[in-house]
Structure formats: structure tokens, C-alpha cells
Amino acid sequence: MDSLHRYRVPLALLVIALALGAPFVLYPVFLMKLLCFALFASAFNLLLGYVGLLSFGHAAFLGTAGYVTGYLVKDAGLPMVPGLLAGTAAAALLGYVFGSLAIRRRGIYFAMITLALAQMVYFVCLQVPQTGGEDGLQAVPRGRLFGVLDLTNNITMYYVVLAIFLFGSFVIYRTIHSPFGQVLKAIRENEQRAVSLGYEVDRYKLLAFVLSAALSGLAGATKALVLQLASLTDVDWHTSGEVVLMTLLGGMGTVAGPFVGAALVVTMQDYLADIGAFVTVIIGGVFVVCVLVFRRGLVGELARALKLKT
């Protein structure tokens, strides 16, 4: 076994210990937002990093789940847990539709199709009355977990979000390191050979796509509860671009990369919120530098420098 893998348990425990203490040092809402985007980027990375499929429409899953959860919790009065599950299920279903269409084409076409489908979702969200159009769904109530825990308390909410994040990350980790994950990597490395070995490549791709969409949905549904808001920003194509950037910046195909990338991008947006349109310039610039100079991302380059296998 490689060295990084050997230390995975103490490393994971260290990260969890830090995460448990974090809300007493940093602003909990910021941390929750970060966890949601980290889960989103990890779910995206499952597809880009491990199957080699570049989806440019993942905002649709994040946003749709947010709207579904927001609508059910706010307007239909559903409790939080069924609301979250329904949002996740909606994203999974949408993922199934997107996936079945997009895997008909490869490479660059795949990216364009997912982008176009997501734009269609954007227009639908803009027009249907349930989403609140330009205003979005505001003041989504967090409610009580199992009718007991008061989630309006940010610290309590933080631990719930942390639990959701850990659950999502665990699912992704187990998927990557399962025989199913091995087949996905085989498809990434050489699709023809995977086909000739008898794997039904399209079914594997579709399943990975649905899983990625569902977990992105989980992130979006959680985010809607955290910020008590579901808005058009979440289904906008800029968000699809941002998740690509997070994954690329952190290191695609690494477990920790998306987390690092999400942390950097969310922090950057938070601190640079005052300078308006210039944020886009910086994000674009980071994109260009990443693609030209370090395609492996921060975690990937670091692992290479330390001669570790991730």
C-alpha cells in the first residue's frame, strides 16, 4: 500500500477533530456553506476525476434539489429530513434523465449537452411559479431535526451539516474504492478496453452520473436549509463552472482535492465579495493558471512533490 493510504485513518480523524472544533473559531454559516460546496465538488469529482466525464451542468442538480427541498419545507410544511430526501431524490431523477441523454455522446459533446440541459432547467426554474422566479425562495425554515433539535441554532445546524457532509464523503470514498469504482477508473483510462472486457460501459457511466447528481442534490438541499434560500444563482451556469474550478484547483481524481478547492474558492468569494464583477476576472484567471500550469491541482501536485500516490 502507498504511504498516503496507510495514514488515511489518522488523517481522517485529524480532519474530523478539526471540523468538530471549527465552529467555535470560525463563523458557522461560512463553514456550513463551505461543507456544502465541498460535498458538491466531491460529487462532481466522482464523475470528472474517476470516470473522466466533464459535466458542465451540475448546477442543475444543486439548484433543483435546493428548490424542491425549499418548496416542500416552506410551502408544503414538510419536516426537514423528508424535505432533504425529496430534494436529493429529485436531483437523482434529474441526473438519470441528463445522464441517459448525455452518455450518448462523448468528450466535448458530453460537456456541451450537460450545459445545454442545465440551461433548460434554468429557464424552467425562472418560469414556474413554485420557485419564486427572480426572487427565489426566501426564509426557508430550518425547523427541528426529528422534532427535537432546534436547527435555528447555527452551532447545532453545523453539526448536522457536518454529519451530512461526512456521510456524503463516505459514500464517495466507498464508491471510489469499491470494485465498481475500479471499473469506473478503467473506463476513464481506456473505454474501448473496458468494453472489450465485457463491461457494459454505459450502465456504469449512468450509475456514476446518477450517484454524482444525487450527492450534488444532497449538497444543494442542505445548502438551501443552511442559507434558508434557494435562488437562480444555484442553477446558473456560472455555478457549474465554479464546481469545475474547485475540482480542478484542488486536484481532480484525488479524494481531498475537491475539499481543498471548494475551501479556496468559497473563501475567495467571501473575502472578495466587495469588489463585484472583478471576482469573475479572478476566478477566470485562476482557471487559466490551473489549466496551463498545474493540471493536477494543488493536492495532486503536492502528492507528486512528496512522491505519494493518492
Binding site: L54, R106, Y109, Q119, M120, V279, T280, V291
Partner: protein
């Protein structure tokens, strides 16, 4: 007034004209994308930004240098084409040996930078650009009123599209380009300067986008984000048409513009999404696109 399916003819023709104009932009933009994709195998995400740049160069030429529309129509594509070539030479070129997705991501990043810069300096609300005097007013065709400028846009786009097609099909450089698309290695071994051909092709694609941008300037406002939403629709157009044929890209562009115009008349709620719905249908029936070959 004459009606068809309960719709006044004048409204129908009006929307068809708008559809034809949108179709003209789809056609010119998807043509540029198809040419770049053919040789570079890269989807140029910066195409929308180059279209926007085209319009802005025209606006700047007028406001800072007093150069009119007709000069801008020539100058703007040249400027943007040169910028495109510089971009290809300095950045895009480094990525050819990697996965083509990196090219897509690079052009995406550049598009964000350019659009962000223009939003920052000029605001997102947009600048007006007036119709050139010679093309002001309109012609009464009896069944409808045709603004002269709109007729010009359709004609100019058609001429540019067909001209491009002729250059590619009938000239020596077009033959090199087609050969390069079929088999780049072999073409290079015959002594054709392939890197130069690639640079010129990218520049030409960018210039086409800029040309569309100048045409668009008097119709839509000149705004930093004018390209980013359009380009996604053009991507759908490209998926529908497939990128195998130049004429296919032109036909699909105009056709889809008309369909969009019709949907505005008969079912306005769907006008934003109709092209995407058609894309879904095409993917279900003929995944390689109407005129495409499986790439």
C-alpha cells in the same frame, strides 16, 4: 386582417423575421465553432466573449476614434481575430498534447476573464449603438414592415456563411484546412505549415464571432454578457446539427432560429427552451446530430 390559426399574419411574419435574425447569429457563430472544432478538436468556449468583443470594439471605435459602423465591420473582426491568434499562440497551443477538455476549460477561463473585465469597466447594463444611417428606416412589403437593418443582417450573414463555405470548398487554403481536419499528421508530412494553419483557423473563427457581434450591436445593446447566454444556445445548435458539415451548421442555425420565432407566436412560454427540447429529441433519435458523423 388576414389570420392563420388565429394568429394575425403580421405578428407571425414579425416573429419569423426575429427568428431569422437570431438564426443568422446562430449560423455565423456555430459556423465559427465548427471550423475551430474541425481542426483543433476544441470547443471554443470563448466564442461568446469574442462575439461580445466584436460588438465592443465597434462601440469603442465609434466613441473613442469616431470610426463608423462600416469601418467597424472590417476593423473589429481583424482586431478580434488577431487577439484570438495571439491567444492561440501563447496559451491554447500548450494544451494540444493533453486531453481536449483542457482546451475547453482554458477558453472558459478566458471567457470569464474577458467578460469580467468588461463588466467591471463598462457595467452590465449595456451601451446603445445606433443603426447606421444608410440602413435606417424600413420597407413596406405589403404584408409586413421590414426594417432595413434587419434585412441587412440576414443578407450579410448569409453572404459571409456562403463565402466561408466557398473558401473552404473551392480554394487551396480551404483544401489544406479540409485535409488537416481529415489527417493532420499526413498534411504536415506534405510540408504544410500546420501550426500556422491552426493559428489562422482559430483567428478566422474568432473573426467570424466578432463579425456577428458587430452585426448584433445595433439590434441588441452592446453589453459584456451579451455573448455568454447566446453561446449556450449555440452549443445546443451545434449538438443538433453535428459538426460534420459546414452547410449543416448554417442550415441548422437558420432553421432553429425560425423554429424559435414560431414558438414565440404559438407557445411563448416555451420559446426559451424549445431549442434545448429539440436537442433532446435529436439526441434520442440521431445522437450524432442531423448532419454529423460520430466523432
Amino acid at each position: 386582417m388576414t389570420e392563420i390559426f388565429g394568429i394575425p399574419l403580421q405578428v407571425l411574419f414579425g416573429q419569423l423575421l426575429i427568428g431569422l435574425i437570431n438564426g443568422a447569429f446562430y449560423a455565423v457563430l456555430s459556423l465559427g465553432l465548427a471550423i475551430i472544432f474541425g481542426l483543433l478538436r476544441i470547443i471554443n468556449f470563448a466564442h461568446g466573449a469574442q462575439y461580445m468583443l466584436g460588438a465592443f470594439v465597434a462601440w469603442m471605435a465609434l466613441h473613442y476614434f469616431g470610426l463608423n459602423y462600416w469601418v467597424a465591420l472590417i476593423v473589429s473582426p481583424i482586431v478580434v481575430g488577431l487577439l484570438g491568434m495571439a491567444f492561440e499562440r501563447t496559451m491554447l497551443r500548450r494544451l494540444y498534447r493533453f486531453d481536449h477538455l483542457y482546451g475547453l476549460l482554458l477558453t472558459f477561463g478566458i471567457a470569464l476573464v474577458v467578460e469580467g473585465l468588461f463588466s467591471n469597466f463598462y457595467g452590465v447594463s449595456g451601451k446603445p449603438y445606433s443603426i447606421p444611417e444608410a440602413l435606417g428606416g424600413g420597407t413596406n412589403l405589403g404584408f409586413m414592415f421590414l426594417p432595413n437593418y434587419r434585412a441587412w443582417v440576414v443578407v450579410a450573414s448569409l453572404v459571409v456563411c456562403l463565402g466561408t463555405w466557398l473558401v473552404i470548398e473551392r480554394t487551396k487554403i480551404g483544401a489544406y484546412l479540409r485535409a488537416g481536419i481529415e489527417n493532420p499528421t499526413l498534411v504536415q508530412s506534405f510540408g504544410v505549415n500546420l501550426p500556422l494553419l491552426i493559428t489562422l483557423t482559430y483567428g478566422f473563427g474568432a473573426a467570424l464571432a466578432a463579425f456577428a457581434g458587430v452585426l448584433a450591436a445595433p439590434i441588441f445593446q452592446v453589453s459584456p454578457l451579451m455573448g455568454s447566454n447566446l453561446i449556450i444556445i449555440v452549443f445546443a445548435v451545434v449538438v443538433i446539427g453535428g459538426m460534420g458539415s459546414i452547410l449543416g451548421a448554417i442550415l441548422t442555425g437558420f432553421g432553429l432560429g425560425l423554429v424559435e420565432g414560431l414558438s414565440k407566436v404559438f407557445y411563448p412560454e416555451a420559446s426559451n427552451t424549445v431549442i434545448f427540447v429539440i436537442m433532446v429529441l435529436v439526441l434520442l433519435i440521431k445522437p450524432s446530430g442531423l448532419f454529423g458523423r460520430e466523432a
